[in-house]
């Protein structure tokens, strides 16, 4: 009898112990997250306040989207490898600016933290992987809706094929005799009707385009030519008409001449037909993700959640329509 009692007691202790470890505090069947002597803070109260209030619609949408991306485009080892390569490239650019690897890494860490978007290097790498997953999702949509996306892209991003000739100068505001002479020669050849491509391949100092007859490829409103070359290059590239050559643009370390090879819708379409992860069609439209989202089959088991997500997506698509009307 005594033995049975001891056994029963021990078993109750086990249940109590394991129960406490797993379930946390509950009161009236409700989970309690915290309390003060004024009252309890129930899990349900926290859920209610966390899921409502400022920006709760956009953060809910982002969460659902993230889960959808993880489900449909899970991170693969290839993606992780690509993200690692991207990270290495960023780190290398820092290494060129700092005297030691340690300093470069510390500067990168500090920049990532101050951006407010990343908590650590590993968080940054994780988000790089996510950005690839995200791009895969958009790419799938663009491939499936190529014509409509391209038509919209052509209207919104004013794409054109552009070429560039760069004449290096240590101080463009006071160029040396030889720098001046080289620039003059390029201008004279173009005036004489020599093709822009052939002049670029012979005279351009831009190593990244020289071997491609100066071609920058397709340039649109999302370009970053100002960062790569000099302020004003982007605006000039987008202002040129098909076949037009620009005047000389003076940068901080070179002179630039641009040429618009074509603005033909069909020619550019051909160029962009092969949709890769680097395609401008994936990035030109900030609202494309809402179109993509609507192509998935989503059921909502909660009326509030449904209303919130759908209203948010609708609002964003309305803003997209307005943007196109205003264009």
């Amino acid at each position: 009898m005594k033995a049975k009692k001891i056994t029963a007691l021990a078993l109750s202790c086990t249940l109590l112990f394991t129960g406490c470890s797993a379930g946390g505090k509950t009161e009236n069947g409700k989970s309690v997250a915290a309390s003060t002597s004024v009252g309890n803070i129930y899990a349900d109260d926290l859920y209610k306040s966390l899921s409502s209030g400022a920006n709760s619609d956009s953060s809910l949408f982002s969460y659902v989207l993230d889960q959808l991306i993880d489900e449909k485009f899970p991170a693969t080892s290839d993606m992780k490898e690509s993200a690692n390569e991207m990270y290495k490239n960023v780190l290398n650019s820092y290494k060129q600016q700092y005297s030691s690897e340690k300093e470069a890494l510390s500067a990168l860490k500090s920049d990532l933290k101050s951006s407010g978007q990343y908590t650590s290097i590993s968080d940054y790498k994780k988000k790089l992987v996510y950005s690839i997953q995200y791009s895969q999702m958009i790419k799938k949509y663009v491939k499936a809706h190529f014509d409509s996306v391209y038509n919209d892209y052509y209207k919104m991003a004013t794409p054109r094929k552009v070429s560039i000739i760069s004449i290096s100068s240590t101080n463009p505001s006071s160029p040396t005799k030889s720098e001046k002479a080289k620039l003059k020669e390029v201008q004279a050849l173009l005036k004489e009707g020599q093709s822009f491509g052939s002049v670029a391949s012979k005279y351009s100092d831009d190593t990244s385009t020289k071997n491609a007859d100066g071609s920058l490829g397709v340039v649109d409103t999302t370009n970053s030519l100002d960062n790569t070359y000099a302020s004003g290059v982007s605006a000039k590239a987008l202002a040129l008409k098909s076949g037009q050559t620009s005047s000389v643009i003076t940068g901080t370390s070179a002179f630039y001449i641009l040429h618009c090879d074509t603005t033909s819708k069909s020619e550019i379409k051909k160029e962009l037909k092969n949709v890769t992860i680097d395609s401008p069609l994936l990035t030109y439209d900030n609202y494309i993700v809402y179109l993509v989202y609507n192509t998935y089959h989503i059921n909502y088991g909660d009326a509030t959640i449904k209303k919130k997500v759908q209203a948010y997506v609708k609002k964003q698509l309305a803003a997209r329509t307005k943007e196109r009307k205003d264009k």
């Binding site: 309690v32 915290a34 803070i41 926290l46 209030g53 956009s58 809910l60 659902v64």
Partner: protein, 332 residues
Amino acid sequence: MAEKKTTTNEDLSGFRQVHKVEVKKEHHFKMTKKIAALIIVVVVLIACCITGYVLTKDNDGYQVKVSNNKNIVSGDVTISKQKYFEHLLSTSGAQKTVDTAYNQIINKLIPTSKYQSQIDQLVKSKEKTYKSYMGSLKSYASAMGYSSTKEFEQDSVIPDAKKDLLKQKFFTDHYKAQCKKYKVAYIKAITVSKESEAIKLIKKSTSEKAFNKFMKSKTYKSNANDYAMVTTKTSTSTLNKAIKAKLSTFSNMTKDGVYGTAIKQSSSKYVVVYVYNTDKDANKTKIVKALADLSDTDTDVEAYYLQKYNFTVYDKKLKKAIKKINKNYIKD
């Protein structure tokens, strides 16, 4: 002595040997109820420990559970209410728990019915400031992510106003202790290049009027500064380190007047400090307001009330995150 001990041991071992040979012991194990129960207890306790260890080891999940867990999203992706809740907890759950607990305390200590006019006054003043930022309150509320000004007022402006009132109450109730803690002092200072010049100024600054006259004079105007209230929370970019190091002395002064020593700064310049508003009782209203206006004192006040009202967090992960925000929010 040691020899004697050895002999005794030898004797005993001899006895044991003899005893072993001569007496045949029968050690048959008998499973009694007592032994069975004991074994069960031991096994159960071991199981207990293992279960507890497994459940708590590297447990990065939340223990806190939302009611009516169900799938809020299904189809191409499935998301449960609990999963979404845990996502919300991991992004801003710690701060929200602190805010909720603190608001409970605020509502108890600053009941709207009793403080309505003060709340209204503060809300009006805050909304005026927000309006000045973006042209209208609606634009500001929208920029803050609120869908209406009413929602913004209820969720943010009124709670903030009540928070301010609780801070004022705190500094009023604990006035002397807080003045001491933050080393409250009112100072104005003139910086000069030579020690002899500083000493001359100290000698001549026989009254506040005289010091003010020097501050306004052509010679010292560009190097004179009225810091008003300074505390331990005043940044060293505002208040020179060498002056800040003397805060305790300034704060303890009971009579207005010039500090008798020229303070040497690291820049090799000298500072002459005039301390005023030393009568803390006479300046209580002003000092309480100034202390309450310091945003740097927010967390100290919050920690005080949260501890006083036994803020307890039952979820380990949530507790860890709250401790990371401020280790003083929770007692243990």
